[in-house]
C-alpha cells in the first residue's frame, strides 16, 4: 500500500488542480455572458440590412450583381476556432465539419484558400498542406469591427480580382451553454435565404436572451423608394452583409468557446474533487491501519515482557 506521505502529496495536488479549474470555469462563465450580449447587440443591425436586401432582391439589378453570381474559381474557407485548447471537442468539431464540406464540394487542396481566425484551425490546415493566406490570432473577446473588416475586405478583393469565386465560413453556433453546433455557411455568392437563417440563429435557444422582442417582428412595407438606385445601395449593403456574417461567425464562436470551456472545466473540477475524496479515504484507511499495527505491536511487546 502507498505510503502516507505520497498519498498526502496526491491529495494536495488534486485539490490544487480543482481550485485552478474552478477559477477557469468562473472566468469562462463571465466571458460567455459578455460574448452573448455582444452577439445580440448586433442583431438589429443584421436584421435591418437583411430586410433591405430582401426588399431589393426582387429587382433585376440585384440578380446581376457580381457578388450574387455563381462562377468558377477557388474557394475561400474562413475557419473560426479558438486560440487555446481546454475546451472539449469544440475545435475538432469545427475542423471536421470544414473538412467534410471540402469533400462534399469536391475541392482539391490547390482550390482552397484558407483564412484562419484563431490559432487551432489555421495550424491544422497549414500542417496538412493547405494554402493558409491569412491568419489571425489573439483576437480579443471584444472583437473590433475593423479586425473583421480585414477579413471581409480581403475576401471582396480576391473576389473582385477573380481569384476566388466562393467563400464559406466554418464556425461554431452557440445554441445553449451545453450545446454548440459546428456549422458551415456559404457567404459568397450571397444567398438572402442563407442570411435569413443566420440572423434567425443569432438568438440562443434557451436562457436570458432567447425571447424575441416585439419590435423585431415589424412587417415590411411593400412600397419602397430607393435613392439614388438599387445598384449604389447594393454596393454599400453587400459588403456590410458579409461583414455581419464574418462578425457573427466570430462572436458565436467566442460564446461557444467559453461555454465549452466552462463545461469542460466544470467536469474537470468535479473529477478532481472526486479523486481527492477517494484518496482521502485511502489515506484514512492507511493511517488507521498504521495506528492499529502500532497498538498491537506495543501490546504484544508488553505481553512479552511479563
Amino acid at each position: 500500500m502507498a505510503s502516507l506521505k505520497s498519498l498526502k502529496v496526491k491529495i494536495y495536488s488534486y485539490k490544487k488542480t480543482g481550485t485552478v479549474t474552478k477559477a477557469m470555469q468562473a472566468v469562462s462563465a463571465v466571458k460567455m455572458r459578455k460574448a452573448q450580449e455582444r452577439a445580440l447587440s448586433g442583431r438589429a443591425y443584421a436584421a435591418t440590412s437583411l430586410s433591405i436586401l430582401q426588399r431589393l432582391s426582387g429587382t433585376s439589378d440585384v440578380k446581376r450583381h457580381a457578388l450574387l453570381q455563381t462562377r468558377t474559381g477557388k474557394t475561400c474557407l474562413v475557419i473560426v476556432t479558438s486560440d487555446k485548447g481546454l475546451a472539449g471537442s469544440l475545435n475538432s468539431a469545427v475542423i471536421r465539419k470544414a473538412e467534410a464540406e471540402i469533400l462534399r464540394l469536391n475541392l482539391k487542396k490547390e482550390d482552397v484558400i484558407i483564412i484562419g481566425v484563431g490559432r487551432r484551425g489555421a495550424e491544422y490546415f497549414a500542417s496538412r498542406g493547405y494554402d493558409v493566406k491569412l491568419k489571425f490570432e489573439n483576437i480579443a473577446d471584444g472583437v473590433s469591427e475593423d479586425e473583421m473588416r480585414m477579413v471581409t475586405d480581403k475576401v471582396l478583393n480576391w473576389h473582385e480580382e477573380g481569384e476566388v469565386s466562393a467563400c464559406i465560413v466554418a464556425y461554431t453556433n452557440f445554441i445553449s451553454t451545453f450545446e454548440q453546433e459546428p456549422v458551415v455557411r456559404q457567404i459568397v455568392p450571397i444567398d438572402p435565404e442563407m442570411f435569413a437563417l443566420m440572423v434567425a440563429r443569432i438568438r440562443p435557444a434557451k436562457g436570458k436572451y432567447s425571447p424575441v422582442p416585439a419590435d423585431e417582428k415589424a412587417v415590411a412595407p411593400s412600397v419602397y423608394t430607393i435613392e439614388p438606385d438599387a445598384d449604389s445601395v447594393l454596393r454599400v449593403l453587400l459588403p456590410k452583409l458579409l461583414n455581419i456574417a464574418v462578425f457573427h461567425a466570430h462572436i458565436e464562436s467566442k460564446a461557444s468557446e467559453h461555454s465549452a470551456r466552462m463545461v469542460a472545466m466544470k467536469s474537470a473540477t468535479d473529477k478532481a474533487n472526486e479523486m481527492a475524496s477517494s484518496f482521502t479515504r485511502t489515506f484514512n484507511k492507511v493511517r488507521q491501519a498504521a495506528i492499529t499495527r502500532e497498538v498491537s505491536e506495543i501490546t504484544s511487546g508488553m505481553e512479552a515482557m511479563k
Partner: protein, 82 residues
C-alpha cells in the same frame, strides 16, 4: 402641440450608437444632404461621408460621424447602418 417624433436607431456592427425618439435627422445622402422627419415615406438610400445630425425632442442636437452608411426609413422607424 408636442413635436412629432420617429424612432431612430444608429448602429454599427456589434454596437448601437443611438436608439431613441428623434424629431429630425439630417444625413449626407448620396444625392445631397437630406433631412428626414416623422412619417417619412418608406425609402432607402446610401450615405456619403459626413456627419449625421439628430435633433431630439426638446431642441437638443446630437452629431454622429458617418463614413459609408445606409439609411432605411419604414413604418415611422429609421435605421442608419454605419
Amino acid at each position: 402641440m408636442s413635436e412629432k417624433t420617429f424612432h431612430l436607431i444608429i448602429s454599427s456592427v456589434g454596437e448601437t450608437h443611438f436608439d431613441g425618439e428623434a424629431v429630425s435627422a439630417t444625413v449626407p445622402g448620396s444625392e445631397g444632404e437630406l433631412t428626414v422627419l416623422a412619417h417619412h415615406e418608406p425609402f432607402v438610400t446610401a450615405l456619403r461621408t459626413g456627419s449625421i445630425v439628430v435633433r431630439l425632442p426638446g431642441g437638443e442636437t446630437k452629431k454622429f460621424p458617418n463614413s459609408n452608411g445606409i439609411l432605411e426609413f419604414s413604418g415611422n422607424k429609421a435605421v442608419v447602418l454605419l
